[in-house]
């Protein structure tokens, strides 16, 4: 949609099969668990390196539908995450509506309380 509107796009993914199906104009794949496309928490150098390498694909991809794979490895000694990521019982249960409203009220209250400072 955005690409068709005249702005080049790049999609950063860690789900290769889904991205192949969706077939975006440009994509970069890193084989990390879902929710970590741009790196591990509190590792700013890794995050910057992944994002920098990914953005390089804006200048290297010449054919629509290309997916560039980056060579980053989540854990060279342990690939067990691949067996369990996004399988049954992997996700915590969704909160029921009442709990969700409580969580939301508490989250927002922190900022509303500090807004006047």
């Amino acid at each position: 949609m955005v690409e068709a509107a005249g702005i080049p796009t790049l999609c950063m993914t860690s789900a290769l099969d889904i991205t192949r199906a969706v077939n975006p104009p440009r994509a970069v794949f890193v084989n990390f668990p879902l929710g970590h496309q741009t790196g591990k928490p509190h590792q700013p150098e890794l995050q910057r390196s992944i994002v920098r390498d990914a953005l390089g694909a804006f200048e290297t991809i010449a054919r629509p539908g290309t997916i560039v794979e980056l060579p980053y490895v989540w854990d060279a000694n342990d690939r067990r995450w691949e067996e369990t990521d996004y399988t049954a019982n992997f996700l915590p249960p969704r909160p029921v509506k009442e709990d969700a409203e409580t969580i939301e009220a508490e989250r927002r209250a922190r900022f509303i309380a500090s807004a006047g400072k």
Binding site: V2, A5, I7, C11, L34, P44, G56, E82, P92
Partner: protein, 156 residues
């Protein structure tokens, strides 16, 4: 080996009507980058459910989006999404919403400018039509008005 997420998603959602993937078999649309990345204004969008301060949360089937100030820091941000494990994103949003890396790459001259604001939505929208007909055109309009040269998408 890359994980096959399509069968795993089918499994997780097997209590519901069959999950139908967006499949695009045609050649994707294409717009070349008009100037080098180092001179380009780049905007970020992430679907990880990131929220800024007291912005309202996302709801089921919610195709709305939030504008996140480019200079937001960890203490400003929350995560509202039940479709992926958010523990690490809550600890450090840069895992799925790389504000800090993009600020640093702009300062280092790798990109010309990191557009303000960045955009956030919650990727658990099961209607591809809503995303295509409601969310995407609004974002495209904002990007054009802001003279953005390149758009970086991080689907969480």
């Amino acid at each position: 080996m890359p994980v096959d997420y399509i069968p795993r998603t089918r499994e997780l959602y097997n209590a519901y009507s069959p999950y139908r993937w967006v499949e695009n078999h045609d050649t994707p649309p294409w717009t070349p980058l008009k100037k080098p990345l180092a001179e380009s204004k780049l905007a970020l969008i992430g679907s990880g459910g990131i929220l800024y301060r007291d912005q309202p949360r996302f709801h089921r089937e919610d195709a709305s989006y939030r504008r996140i100030p480019r200079d937001a820091v960890q203490a400003d941000l929350g995560v509202w999404h039940f479709g992926y494990r958010t523990t690490d994103a809550e600890a450090d949003h840069n895992c799925v919403f790389p504000l800090a890396p993009l600020r640093e790459l702009a300062a280092a001259g790798v990109i010309g400018e990191f557009a303000d604001p960045a955009y956030s939505f919650m990727g658990g929208v099961y209607s591809a039509r809503k995303v295509r007909e409601e969310l995407a055109p609004q974002i495209a309009d904002e990007l054009k008005r802001a003279h953005v040269d390149a758009f970086f998408l991080v689907p969480a």
